[in-house]
């Protein structure tokens, strides 16, 4: 059964999306700089500019912990940070469905302003389009961002054997909160999205002179997707210690109840940071001292091989492979 139409799984951040991007876009646009990185890095005058774009189509628009506006700013800011760039400016384009309440739009715009102010980035330009009722799901937002690279060479392709992997906090918060808010599956109690811009955390780490090789914000597809991306880009193996991956009890319970692998659940306020082994302890200290990094943990390390393999040492001390996710995240009963 060959796929001829776009399916939801093409947007899920897993295998299918990777193939779609390769077969449709990269095949025509070329790979640009380092293929696979969230930001492109361009040379401008004597320095480097990071450039990224992202679209936000979340439902519901307002969820515990945040909203589509905060997501749109934080998501693009975090993508710039993965290139070790100081975010400078964002554009914001809106596709609005006819019938959307203007008050809703004002709330979203206000949230974007607040999030941008929090992390010192300016929203400098944008666009607005309206489509007939039914042609869009209330609001779609596309943000593009530019930033000034403060440390060249940080890329998903630059992870090296021996690097330690730092995760800046608990996983699964965003995906679990949004799924529960959107579908009638469970009541999420205190579950809330972790959506946050990590500018202060990342720039402080870099300012402290920590040797960072790679960074990735594990959004759709969770840390499973990001770890596999980096393993593939850098041609290395990564091993993760399950007991060191922080998970909030409510998120763990929701995942158990719905049969979800928390490593595949989206995050919107977390960073995976690959640091040189000698700097790992200090890096962890720095991250833990900054806002949004208090639950940071050293979760694993990079091995020379077998290349592109990501494995998990379970709570029991056994080993299992962590594959890139395939398909959309779906609850199971089996």
């Amino acid at each position: 059964m060959k796929t001829k139409h776009i399916l939801l799984s093409h947007g899920a951040g897993g295998r299918e999306m990777g193939r779609l991007i390769e077969q449709v876009f990269l095949a025509r646009y070329g790979a640009g700089g380092k293929p696979g990185d969230d930001s492109a890095v361009l040379t401008l005058g004597g320095g480097q500019l990071a450039f990224t774009t992202d679209s936000f189509v979340v439902a519901p628009l307002f969820f515990p912990g945040g909203d589509i506006g905060r997501l749109a700013v934080a998501g693009t800011v975090n993508d710039l940070l993965t290139a070790a760039a100081r975010p400078l400016a964002l554009s914001a384009s809106f596709i609005l469905e006819e019938g959307l309440e203007i008050e809703t739009l004002m709330a979203i715009a206000g949230s974007m302003r607040d999030t941008a102010a929090e992390c010192g980035v300016a929203i400098v330009t944008g666009d607005t389009k309206v489509v007939p009722k039914g042609a869009a799901d209330q609001v779609f937002i596309t943000t593009s961002g530019v930033g000034e690279v403060v440390r060249p060479g940080v890329s998903g392709a630059a992870a090296r054997p021996g690097d330690r992997v730092i995760l800046t906090g608990t996983v699964g918060d965003h995906g679990a909160a949004v799924m529960l808010a959107r579908e009638n599956l469970l009541q999420g109690g205190g579950l809330a999205s972790d959506v946050a811009p990590l500018t202060d955390l990342v720039l402080t780490l870099l300012a402290e002179g920590i040797e960072v090789h790679a960074m990735r914000d594990p959004t759709r597809g969770g840390i499973a997707a990001s770890l596999n991306e980096i393993a593939r880009q850098s041609g290395v193996a990564i091993t993760i210690e399950e007991s060191r991956v922080p998970v909030q009890p409510g998120v763990a319970a929701a995942c158990e109840a719905l049969g979800l692998d928390v490593f595949q659940v989206a995050n919107e306020g977390k960073m995976l940071i690959f640091v040189a082994p000698g700097d790992a302890a200090r890096a962890l200290e720095v991250v833990r001292s900054r806002r949004y990094g208090q639950d940071a943990s050293l979760i694993g390390e990079v091995l020379p091989g077998p290349p592109r393999r990501v494995q998990v040492r379970t709570l029991l001390g056994t080993t299992r492979l962590l594959d890139p996710p395939a398909g959309e995240l779906l609850p199971r009963i089996c």
Partner: protein, 75 residues
């Protein structure tokens, strides 16, 4: 097809109840378990409580296993 997790009954109204664990809750049906009371742990599958979790039995199993494990360590 057996994914069922232990959840605690926190509200009951005849055959409908609310079960909760670690802050996550769900309305569930108790049609199969007339003897369940508030505070009991039950296994929830597809919105239905399928069995009461017998805490005493669980404790007994764990106790035995812990004793055996401790004895093993002696060797």
């Amino acid at each position: 097809m057996c994914l069922a997790i232990p959840m605690r009954i926190v509200e009951m109204d005849g055959v409908t109840a609310v079960a909760e664990v670690d802050g996550v809750a769900r309305k569930v049906r108790l049609d199969l378990l007339p003897e369940v009371v508030l505070g009991d742990y039950v296994l929830i599958h597809a919105g239905l409580a399928i069995a009461r979790v017998d805490a005493a039995q669980a404790e007994e199993t764990l106790s035995l296993l812990r004793t055996l494990a401790a004895a093993d360590e002696v060797y």
